[in-house]
Every structure is written in structure tokens, then in C-alpha cells.
């Protein structure tokens, strides 16, 4: 618990309290909007009961965005096509719909990929669309979709083609799954479709779930080639700015066999073989925990939560993997790699921490980044005073132990929940037993405590923050840095506060692993100490 000296405060002069800021944020809303926002704008009161068990307030999350509120959120199509399937280089992803959706998701998410040679497929630089016209809306678009798949096949001969539905597709009733099945039969390559219309769910999060389901149904389990003894999948790492490259390097140097990454720098074949890995390591809990759960049920593969954002978190995650395999050789490898990497991290911290220490950060982004990046700010001695997710659920805030209590509303009920049974032949009891044994030694499986537990008592936690609220927060509190996305960036900077994009990394990075942490220290030092922020007031105006 906080003591007098490190009491939480939003501003250095303690001019405003979290409670008063919350009141200010809420008071302007029309009644109905206010009732909704009250549940999503919280003061992180950590209350300990008599036994010292800390309870957190309940957050309203994964609920509808209020119309007219200028939200950060995108849509289900964006979550499915853009986030989850976007980074896989050798699938031809055809957007079925009018041209816009395919155009806007063309190369804009910065998931890097590295095909070994020119002979290897890489379709990420291409946008494929059926460019639906009014006659397709009136008479149906199935015929055009069929022809588009044929043309894509004729031109590119890919090993797989995926079809992504945009809003009108669901309304006019095109059966994209039937068309995909027909064309799969005809062409003899894997073809599957996603009903990821933009209006489904309440945010891009629904698109993640839909993507997970189809990849699980149509790709995972297609290739039973056996893997090394220390084989893992990395889940929920999208290789923004090359993050996955750094993690791949660390794992390789430890001797860990990375079967598949979902989905940074990934290929179709990696997904197809991913059920053969011994362990799943979940990075972004929000976007990918569905696949981890389904693989566990069907194939017996346990999953652990990892985080490669932050040097300390990276070391901890590598050790966690080693703990699971419980093999001296691997443990030694991991310790060797950590000791190879850490001197440079300490050097960088020595240089940058004094220039950043005590500064205050706000993070409003994503479904895990608003949590993970607090690690990096902490390593710089900076405080996260307010944070929240754009599209996460209650478990990402409060921890997975609230999952049984989460009310499934109409919007979530519309997203298919796959019923999965253990595979009669391929369920690996050995893995399951290994997990049980390791659990009894204290290894935590399927565990995620969420963002709020790691945030200071009385910090602000705001779900699905909107422009009105972030504008007021910055005016009242003037943080030293604000982290969000492209739509917010220039608004924040107009106010004289640097804004770090944590979706695109402002075209910088990588920030994962040890070297990534060093990059981030340098970047934040640059941003919070840039001379430009001191030049905002012209000399002819009184300070």
C-alpha cells in the first residue's frame, strides 16, 4: 500500500485528484451516455479486505461504443483481416466488399515480414478486393467472389486463399463459406472465409475472435510433422516494427524451437503445424487467448502468459518457458542469453533513466499494450498515471479470475463460440501431464492478472476513451507523454504534449526484448526531452 511519501498523484503539485477528474470527465454527458461511461471511467481503488486480499473495482469493458462519441475503436473486419491475418505473408487475403476496406487495410499496420528468398510467397504488399458494385449489392456478390478467387488462383497459385466479409456482405446474404468450400474443392488449395462484417461485436476484438475460430478450424492441425523437445508457439505477437524478429532471435539463441507465431512474420505452414508445439506462450492475451484455449482442449497443449515488452519482463518470460520445460540445459541457455543481453540494457538505463525519471505517462491503446508498455516506462522511472484499453474485455483489466462472472451480452453472443473436443488421436496426454506436474511445482498456467493489479492505487483506468475525455485529461493533468494511435496523435501534440503511437510505433521500433527496450528508452528520452516543447509559447506572449 502507498505510504505518505509515494502517495499517488496525477500532477506534481497534487492540484487535482483522480476522483475530481473523474467527476469532470463525466459531468458533461447527456444522461444516457453518462450512465454508460460511469462504468468505464474508474479510479483504480485497490481495497484490501481483512485477509489482505485486494479487490479491484469492476470495469465496464467490451461494451458498445456510444454513437457520436469520437472513439479510438475500429471494426471487426479490421480486427480480423488487419490484425490477425494481416501479418501472414503467404495467404492471398481477398476482401469481399466495396473497395474501401481493402484499400485502408493495405500495408497500413506495419507488421513486418521476412520471406527467406524471392522464391517464397509474400503477398503482404498487395491489396486484393472484389470491389463490389451496386449490381453486386442488388443481385448478390457470390458470382463475383467466385470469379475473383479463380483469378487470384490463376495469377498467383497461392497455397491458401482467405476471404474477408465487409458490412454489406452479411446483409445481402452472400454465403462466403459455401463459395470458399466450392472453390477449395475445385482448385485443390485451402480456401476459407471469415464472416467478419464490420458491424459485428462492439470493436475489432470480435474480429480477433472470428479470425481465431477460422484459423483453428481450417488451418491448425493440417501438418503433423513432429517438433523439437523445447517447441513453443508465440501467440499474440504481430511483429510491428520487427518485434517478432527480436523475439525469434532470443528464442533461437536459447535453443527453443519456435513453431509458429500468431501471427507476426508467420506463414500458412507454421499455423498448420502449430498444434505440434509443446507449449503455447501468449503475449497479447486479448487477441489470441481463444486459439490457445482451443488448442489446449483439442491437443492438450498448455499455455502460459508471457510478455516480451520490457527487459525485466523479457527475462522473466524466458525463465518462465525454461521453468516449464524444467531442463538444466535450457535453463543454462536462457541464463546465458539474459546475461549476454543485460549489460547493454543497464548501460542504456544508466543513460536514459535520469532524463526520464519521475515523468508521467498515460497509455490508451489496444488490448494488451496499455498494460505491457507500463513495464518499459517503469524501467525508465516513469509513472503511468492513467491507462485503458481500446477494445479489451474485463479479464484484461481485472484478471482471468473474473471470466466466469462476465455477462455475455447480445453483441458477444453473436460471435460464434466453437465447441471443441479433445482430438481422439492427437490429444497429447504427455503434455497435459507435464503441465499438471509443473503446476504442482508452482508454474502458473492460463494465468493473467490484468492491467489494474499492476497499476497504482487511485490511478485512472478508462475503457474505450474518447476524444472528449482524453482532451480534458490532457488539459487537467498535462502528462509528460501520451500513448495512443494515429487518430489521437496530432490532437495530443497540438496541445504541447508528445504522443507516442503504440500501434505503429511512429514507424520506429522494434521495442520487444532487450534490444527493443533499449530502443524504447532512447525514443522516450528523445520525446520527453525534445526542445520543441519548450518553444510553443512565442516570445511576444507572456508566459
Amino acid at each position: 500500500m502507498s505510504t505518505e511519501t509515494d502517495a499517488f498523484s496525477l500532477t506534481p503539485d497534487q492540484a487535482v485528484t483522480s476522483e475530481s477528474v473523474r467527476d469532470d470527465l463525466l459531468k458533461v454527458y447527456p444522461k444516457k451516455a453518462r450512465r454508460k461511461r460511469e462504468k468505464q471511467v474508474l479510479v483504480n481503488r485497490k481495497e484490501a479486505d481483512g485477509d489482505g486480499v485486494v479487490s479491484l473495482p469492476q470495469v465496464g469493458a467490451n461494451v458498445r461504443t456510444i454513437p457520436g462519441i469520437i472513439s479510438q475503436r475500429g471494426c471487426t473486419y479490421a480486427g480480423c483481416k488487419g490484425v490477425i491475418l494481416g501479418p501472414t505473408r503467404d495467404i492471398v487475403n481477398i476482401t469481399h466488399g466495396p473497395i474501401g476496406c481493402g484499400f485502408y487495410s493495405w500495408l497500413t499496420r506495419r507488421n513486418q515480414t521476412q520471406a527467406p528468398t524471392d522464391e517464397h510467397d509474400n503477398f503482404m504488399t498487395y491489396a486484393f478486393s472484389t470491389d463490389m458494385q451496386d449490381e453486386n449489392i442488388i443481385f448478390g456478390g457470390e458470382k463475383k467472389l467466385r470469379a475473383a478467387i479463380q483469378e487470384a488462383y490463376d495469377l498467383f497459385k497461392p497455397k491458401a486463399i482467405a476471404v474477408f466479409s465487409t458490412c454489406p456482405v452479411g446483409l445481402i446474404g452472400d454465403d462466403v463459406h459455401q463459395v470458399a468450400a466450392e472453390m477449395k474443392e475445385k482448385l485443390g488449395v485451402n480456401i476459407f472465409a471469415f464472416s467478419c462484417e464490420g458491424y459485428k461485436g462492439v470493436s475489432q476484438s470480435a474480429g480477433h475472435h472470428i479470425a481465431n475460430n477460422q484459423i483453428f478450424k481450417h488451418v491448425i492441425g493440417e501438418d503433423d510433422t513432429s517438433r523439437g523437445k523445447w517447441s513453443v508457439n508465440l501467440m499474440g505477437e504481430y511483429n510491428i516494427g520487427g518485434d517478432a524478429f527480436l523475439i525469434e532471435d532470443l528464442l533461437e539463441r536459447c535453443g527453443i524451437d519456435l513453431v509458429a507465431t500468431f501471427s507476426g512474420n508467420s506463414t500458412y505452414d507454421q499455423f498448420a503445424n502449430s498444434h505440434m508445439a509443446e507449449l503455447n506462450c501468449v503475449m497479447c492475451h486479448r487477441s489470441i487467448n481463444y486459439v490457445a484455449d482451443m488448442i489446449e482442449t483439442k491437443y492438450g497443449t498448455p499455455w502460459i502468459k508471457v510478455n516480451f515488452i520490457g527487459a525485466k519482463a523479457t527475462a522473466k518470460s524466458l525463465r518462465k518457458i525454461a521453468e516449464y520445460f524444467d531442463d538444466d540445459e535450457l535453463t543454462q541457455n536462457v541464463e546465458r542469453v539474459i546475461s549476454e543481453e543485460y549489460p547493454a540494457v543497464f548501460e542504456a538505463q544508466k543513460k536514459h533513466k535520469p532524463r526520464c525519471e519521475g515523468k508521467r505517462a498515460m497509455l490508451f491503446v489496444g488490448g494488451s499494450r496499455a498494460h505491457h508498455y507500463q513495464e518499459l516506462f517503469a524501467e525508465l522511472g516513469m509513472k503511468t498515471i492513467a491507462a485503458g484499453y481500446e477494445f479489451a474485455h474485463r479479464d484484461d483489466y481485472e484478471g482471468r479470475n473474473v471470466i466466469p462472472d462476465i455477462k455475455v451480452d447480445a453483441d458477444s453472443r453473436n460471435i460464434e463460440e466453437l465447441h471443441v473436443d479433445p482430438d481422439p488421436e492427437r490429444y497429447d496426454h504427455g503434455r497435459h501431464n507435464q503441465a499438471l506436474a509443473r503446476a504442482s511445482d508452482g508454474v502458473a498456467f492460463k494465468e493473467y492478472d490484468g492491467l489494474m493489479a499492476d497499476m497504482p492505487d487511485r490511478a485512472l483506468v478508462i475503457d474505450d476513451i474518447n476524444h472528449w475525455e482524453s482532451d480534458l485529461l490532457i488539459k487537467k493533468i498535462k502528462p509528460d507523454i501520451f500513448c495512443a494511435g494515429i487518430k489521437e496523435k496530432y490532437v495530443v501534440q497540438k496541445m504541447g504534449v508528445p504522443c507516442k503511437q503504440l500501434h505503429s510505433y511512429d514507424y520506429g521500433g522494434p521495442y520487444a526484448g532487450f534490444r527493443g527496450a533499449i530502443n524504447f528508452y532512447e525514443e522516450i528520452d528523445r520525446m520527453v526531452n525534445a526542445k520543441v516543447w519548450s518553444m510553443v509559447t512565442p516570445p511576444w506572449e507572456d508566459a
Binding site: Y29, P30, A33, T65, I66, P67, G68, I69, I70, S71, R73, G74, C75, T76, A78, G97, P98, I99, G100, C101, G102, F103, Y104, T108, D118, D121, N122, T125, F128, S129, T130, D131, M132, I137, L145, R146, A147, A148, E151, L155, T166, C167, P168, L171, E197, G198, Y199, A410, H467, W468, I486, K487, Y490, V491, V492, Q493, K494, M495, G496, V536
Partner: protein
């Protein structure tokens, strides 16, 4: 390693269903951009929130500026029952929180497929008292499955006439013209306004994104920066002596609507990119100021000519491939022809009847040396195939940022022009219209050629002076 490694040199069969690397995007983003050119206006996207997020992101990446807009945030329920309750809630929330003078609603493929009737919903909002005194809700229909982003821009520009323009006075205001600048950059609009002012004319310019999407950093975020056409100006446009619409695709419809509604005569001209198109613009303005052209404008024209003669050897005979919007492509092609270059390959995904004819006029007796494609499946993939199949390739690429992948693979100099430009700045600050704009464009083209020559020159012929 190549970036577009799957693009074959030969077109085996003409695609009819699959668009690859489009040379257009969808209507709503054009409507959003146009609406940002109304003073104190919040554009509103009536559809799923992803549309709004995508449009705002693209505009922000292009301008490095806030692009503020609301969304009706449709859910599955709204898709079944219609978006009325979402739009009503949005109108109430927007006026309460963001206090614009105007909400400019555009539709999306979703709300169009459902068939939401926006004027009826706006009327319901007024009946419920959700629209404060003196505030307005306007709309245009922008089904994404018709036309292209330019169509949406045109539709929202026309909506400004439909909703606001009024013929109030007995006589039209002599010496005042309406200027509909089309889809150009804020800096272009500022430049056009400067030229009209130099010609001694009053001008109502709409939409006007100058002073909106080039806002200064002051330490405060202005939700509604100083720029944009005011509602009063839009109303008064009905009393101007004449309307000059630049670019038939983006501006023609609004000019015609204004003529029909308020009897303001109109002239639709090509975008004044390049010497000839700017000449035509100035000659048209001259009809309303007594025939006078100030020395300053004459000097600007002369400087442009000077540059062309000084550096003509570097332009002469060079070929280019262009992609983008028809209004831009026609004028850019004319500019290239005027310095004895040749547009060799031109594609646009934007449909529109007169484009091929207009290109023919600009190309004149070189028309047979230029391949032009338009509409469905006329995309950057196709253009790239042509370039790959051509042993001489082209000397220059002109188009939006997506051209950088072709530029690198084929090692061709590249000048960014059009929308979106995601990886360079300058386009929002430096005009390419008018004589001064042509100087900037030619400078960019020259730099691309000369940098290339410097890069590739053998030691013996590496030139100091060029």
C-alpha cells in the same frame, strides 16, 4: 529482394472480378474530407465505426493533422433494425460534447444497403429538440459500391449547395465569384484564393480545408480551427455572379446544382495544374474583373516559363506512368506534355464518362503513344504489368505513396502527388496549382531526374553544373 514479386510482366487475361492494388478508394472518405472544409463542421459517418476509423486514420496519416469526425457505431442490431436510434443518439451527443455549427452526415455501404433515410432521421432529431437553435444537420448519400472517393467528395460538395445556398438578393454580386476548388490540398486552396484576390475579385470558396488541415501548433487543440467556409458564405454563394468549378469529377455537380437552384452561371475548368490550365483559370477570372491581369501574376507565369526553358533538356522526351484521380491525371498529363514529356501509362479506378476523351484532348497527336485505362480492375497492378512488359519502362512515376513499391522494384524515379501521401511532407504546405505550383511540381520532377543522373553517372561524366 523484390517487394511486388508476384506481379507478372504479361497480362495473361483481363481480370474482371479481382482488383489488385487499387487506384481509388471508397466514397465516404471523400465526403469526410469535403465536410472538413466547412467552418465549425463535424463530419459524421453513418455506419460501422471501422469506416470512420479508417477514414480518419488515412486523412491523419496524409496531413499529419487531427481529422475529427463522429460515427454512428452500428452494431448487429442496428444493421437489422436500421440506424435511426444510433444517429439520433449521435446527434445529441455530438452537439452536447463537441458543439459544432454543422454536422455533415455521410452514409456508408452498410447504411445504404439497409436503406436508412437520413433527412427523415434528421427531421426526427429536430422534432425531438436534439438540434440546438441555429445548428444544422446536413447529409449526402455515399454508397461505397458506387463511384470512388472522388464521388463522395463531389456529393458532399453538392450537399453544401443543396442545404445552404440561397438566392436572396435581386441582383448577383458583381465582382464576386464562387470557387469550387475540388479535391486538392489545403495549400492549393490557399494559392487559388490568393490568385483570385490578386485578380481583384471577391470569392466564396467551398469546400475550403485551408486553415483546417494545416493548423498551427499553439499548445491548444482547436476542435474547429479558423479555416473552412462558413454557413453564411455557403448561403451567400447563391448570390455570386459566377461559379468556377475546378475539375468536373469533384466540382462539376455542385456548380450545376447551384446554377439550377440559384441561377448562378457556372464554368467547369480542369484543375489549374500546369501552365495551360492555369492560363485558362486566369482567363476565366479576367472575365469578371474588367479584363485586367496584375503584373504579379504575369511575373509568376514568366518565372514558370523561364524554368521550363532553363531546364528543358532534362524534361524533353521523358516518359511517365501516372495513377490517381481523373481531374488530377488530366491536368498532370497536360503539364507533362507542355514540357515535351509523354504520359505513357495512365490508370484510374474512378469511373466517369469523359475521362478518356479529356485525356485524348490533352495528349493530342501523341494519344496513340499513351495507354489509358479506367474503372473496374484498372489498378496499380495492371499499370505495373505494363511497365514490366515494356523494355524501355518509364522514366518517372507520379502518384500516391503506394507507388513507392513499384519505384523500388523497377528502380524508377518517383514524384508523389495525389492522395494519399503517407510517407512525405510538403504536399500540405506547398501548392501544385497555379504558376507557382507548377514551378514546385517541375522542381520535384527535375530533382528526381537529376538525382538519378547523379547517382548513375560514370565518374568521367559526373556533372558539377546541370
Amino acid at each position: 529482394m523484390t517487394l511486388l514479386r508476384h506481379t507478372p510482366a504479361e497480362e495473361t487475361a483481363r481480370r474482371e472480378a479481382l482488383t489488385v492494388n487499387p487506384a481509388k478508394t471508397c466514397q465516404p472518405i471523400g465526403a469526410m474530407y469535403a465536410a472538413l472544409g466547412i467552418h465549425r463542421c463535424l463530419p459524421h459517418s453513418h455506419g460501422s465505426q471501422g469506416c470512420c476509423a479508417y477514414h480518419r486514420s488515412t486523412l491523419s496519416r496524409h496531413y499529419k493533422e487531427p481529422a475529427m469526425a463522429g460515427t454512428s457505431s452500428f452494431t448487429e442490431g442496428s444493421s437489422v433494425f436500421g440506424g435511426q436510434s444510433n444517429l439520433l443518439a449521435a446527434i445529441e451527443n455530438i452537439f452536447t460534447l463537441y458543439d459544432p455549427d454543422v454536422i455533415a452526415v455521410h452514409t456508408t455501404c452498410l447504411s445504404e444497403t439497409i436503406g436508412d433515410d437520413i433527412p427523415q432521421i434528421a427531421e426526427a432529431a429536430a422534432d425531438k429538440g436534439l438540434i440546438p437553435e441555429g445548428k444544422r444537420v446536413i447529409h449526402c448519400n455515399t454508397p461505397s459500391y458506387v463511384g470512388a472517393h472522388t464521388t463522395g467528395f463531389s456529393n458532399m460538395t453538392k450537399a453544401m449547395v443543396d442545404y445552404f445556398a440561397e438566392a436572396k438578393a435581386d441582383e448577383k454580386a458583381a465582382g464576386r465569384v464562387n470557387l469550387i476548388p475540388g479535391w486538392v490540398e489545403p495549400a492549393d486552396i490557399a494559392e487559388l484564393k490568393r490568385l483570385v484576390a490578386l485578380m481583384g475579385l471577391d470569392c466564396i470558396t467551398f469546400p475550403d480545408t485551408s486553415g483546417v488541415l494545416d493548423a498551427p501548433l499553439t499548445g491548444a487543440h482547436e476542435m474547429y480551427p479558423g479555416g473552412g467556409t462558413t454557413v453564411d458564405e455557403l448561403t451567400a454563394a447563391g448570390d455570386s455572379a459566377h461559379t468556377i468549378a475546378l475539375g468536373p469529377i469533384c466540382s462539376g455537380a455542385a456548380a450545376k446544382a447551384l446554377q439550377a437552384k440559384c441561377n448562378v452561371p457556372q464554368t467547369t475548368l480542369p484543375l489549374p495544374i500546369g501552365l495551360h490550365a492555369t492560363d485558362r483559370f486566369v482567363m476565366k477570372l479576367r472575365e469578371f474583373n474588367g479584363g485586367h491581369v496584375p503584373a504579379e501574376i504575369a511575373a509568376e507565369r514568366g518565372r514558370l516559363l523561364d524554368l521550363i526553358t532553363d531546364m528543358h533538356q532534362y524534361f524533353y522526351g521523358k516518359t511517365a506512368a501516372l495513377w490517381g484521380d481523373p481531374d488530377q491525371l488530366v491536368s498532370l498529363s497536360e503539364l507533362l506534355m507542355s514540357v515535351d514529356m509523354l504520359p505513357k501509362y495512365v490508370v484510374t479506378g474512378t469511373p466517369g464518362k469523359k475521362f478518356i476523351k479529356r485525356m485524348g484532348e490533352v495528349l493530342g497527336d501523341r494519344a496513340h503513344d499513351c495507354r489509358v485505362e479506367q474503372g473496374s480492375c484498372a489498378d496499380m497492378f495492371m499499370m505495373h504489368q505494363w511497365i514490366k512488359a515494356d523494355p524501355a519502362k518509364v522514366d518517372l512515376l507520379i502518384g500516391n505513396t503506394y507507388g513507392k513499391y513499384i519505384a523500388r522494384d523497377e528502380d524508377i524515379p518517383f514524384v508523389r502527388h495525389g492522395f494519399p501521401i503517407l510517407d512525405r511532407i510538403g504536399h500540405q504546405h506547398m501548392p501544385t496549382v497555379g504558376y507557382r505550383g507548377a514551378i514546385r511540381l517541375l522542381e520535384q520532377i527535375l530533382n528526381a531526374f537529376l538525382d538519378r543522373q547523379d547517382r548513375d553517372a560514370p565518374e568521367a561524366s559526373f556533372e558539377l553544373t546541370m
